[in-house]
Amino acid sequence: MKAVGARVPRYDGVAHVTGHTQFVDDLRIPGALTVKAYRSPVHNARLTNLDTSRAEAMKGVHVITWKDVPLLEYGHLSALGIPADEPLLAKDEVRYLGQPIAIVAAPTEEAAMAAVDVITADFEELPALFDVRKAFDAGAPQIHVEGNWYRHFENEMDRRQIRKGNVEEAFDQADLIVQGVYRPAAIEHAPIETQVCQVVPEANGRLTIYSCTQALYFSMGVVAAHLQLPLNKLKVVGGTVGGGFGGKVDTATETMCALLAQKSGKPVRWRWTREEEFLCSSTRAPWHMEIADAVTKDGWILGRKMLTLHDSGAYSRFSPYGLTKHSFHHTGAYSIPNLEFDGYVVYTNRTPTTAMRGFGVTSVSFATETHMSRIALELGIDPYELRLKNANRIGDTSPNQIVYTDPSTVPTILAIADAVGHELTPEYRAMTPGQRTGDLLPEHLVGQLADPEAH
C-alpha cells in the first residue's frame, strides 16, 4: 500500500490543469439537440389541459410528457423497500415549484426555449405546506397521496422509532432536564458544474448516456426501469463530475434525455442553467429536531427523548434512508443508555430533498454537539469534561445496540483540547477509549454494555 501516507498527485491533476479533462458538456456531439424543460410555476396544484401541440408543431422539436414514459413511477430506492411515489414527469398534479411537466428537444437553445414558451396547462392551485411542524395538524393540506408523512418503515411503521432502556425512569432520576430545538436549513449543493447529460441513440439500438451522475450504476438502473429496457441496452459513460456532494445521485436528467433520444432518433444534450440548479435541483433537507436530555448535576446524561421531523420535500426519494441513518446516530459520539427516539419523514411542497455529505447524520451531529454545549452551560461544567465522561468507549453500545469496538471520541476530544490549548485536569487528560470501569461506569451505564469481542 505505497499510496497510504504518501503525498500522491491526483491521477487526473494534469488533465484538470491543461484543459484535457472532459466533462459531460465538453463532449461535442454533432447534431445534438438542446433540451429544455417546461416546469411547474406553482407549489401545489391540480394539473389539467396540458397542451404541447404548438411546441410539437415547431420544426425539429420533440416533446415528451408523462404519456411517453413506459414506467412513470419508479422508486429511487425501491430495492431498499421504499415504494415509488414520484412520476418522472407530472401527470395530474404538481407538488413543487419547478417540477418538470414536459421536456423538449430542439435544434438550438433558442428554439428549445421558444418551444417551452408555447406549452400551456391549467393549474388549479391548492394550499401549500412548507412548515414540517404543521404537517400533523388536522386541517393541514394533504401533500402526498398517503398523507403528510412516510408510512413504510419496517412493519409499515409511520416513523423510525428507537427505544432503549427505560427513559421514563431516567427522567425521574434526573437532576435537570435540558431541552433544545435545532432547525438546520436546507443547503444547496451548488456544484460549479450544473446537472448535465448527453444521450446518443446508437445504430445498434442501444443508448449511450454521458452523465455527470455520482452514482453511475444506480442511475443506469433507474433509466432502465423507467424505460423498461434491459440493462444491456444502456451504456453509461461517467465518472467525471464537476462537483456533486450528493446532489448528483437523483438521476435528474438521464431518463428524460434517454426518452428524447429514443423519440427523436438524435443525440440530445441537457445542461441545466444556474437558475434551474438553484430553483429546481434537490437540496440537503431542512430538519427539525427536539431534544430533551435527563442529566445529573455531575454531568452524566441518563436518557434522551428526541423527535425529528425530516423535510423530504414533495416526494420520498432517499429520505427514509437518510432518516434511518440519522436515528442510529442520534446520540452522536456519546453513550446515552435510555432512549426514546421518534423520527418522521415529512412531505412538504418543497423541491424533494436528497443526500449531501454526511446524509442524515450531519444534522444530528450538529444538534447533539450543540446540545452537549448547552448542557455544559446549564450545569456549569467544563464542556470538554462533559463530553469526555459520556464519550463512547469500547463495550458501549449505540442507539440500535451496535457495540463499539474502537471508538475515537476520547482521543479526538483530547487532541482538540491540545490544539486549542484548553487545560484539562490530570484525571481527564489520562482518559482513554478503554472499557468503562470504576468512576467511569456509573450504575446507569451498566445495562447498555456489550462484549466487543462478540461483535
Binding site: 494534469v14 490543469v17 491543461t18 484543459g19 466533462f23 460549479i192 458544474e193
Partner: protein, 170 residues
Amino acid sequence: MNLTVNGVESTIESGPLTSLLDVLRDELGVTSPKAGCEQGGCGACTVIVDGEPRRSCLTPVASVDGASVTTVEGLGSPEDMAPIQQAFTHHYAAQCGFCTSGMMMAAQAYIDRGGSDDPEAIQEALGGHVCRCTGYVKIIDAVGAAARGDSFDMTVTAAGTAMTNLGGVV
C-alpha cells in the same frame, strides 16, 4: 469577425451577440472555459482577452472582434506545463477541476500584472471565483507559489499550507 485564440486566428461565424464563451466552446471547440452560471458570478468562464482577464460568458463576441484570447490550452500542455499549471498540480489546488480553468487564467493575469504571493492580494484578485470543492486554501498556495517563481516537484504534492492566519482569511 475574427478572433485569435491561443495564437490561432479564426473567422467567427456565430452571431455578434453570441457570448465569447459559446463561441469558444461551441464554434471553436475550445472547452476549457466552463459554463458555471452564465451570469458572471462564478468565474469558471474566465479567459484572458488582450492581456486582461474577462468573463467570457458576459462578453458579446462582437465586442472582442480582432482580439487575442488566451485560454488554458494556450498556457501549456501536459508535456510542457506553465508554472501556474505546475503549481496547481503540485499544491493540489484542483479537486473536481471545474473551476480550475477560470482560476488559473485569473491567476496568470494577476501574475502577469506583477501580483505577489501575498494571500490577501491573491484573494482580492480572485475574489470573483467560486470553488465548491477545495476551500480555496490550496488555490491561494498555488497562486502564491507561482507568483514567487517556485520550482515544483511534480511527483509529489505539497505538504500543509503556507497560510498562517486561516481564521481571518476565509
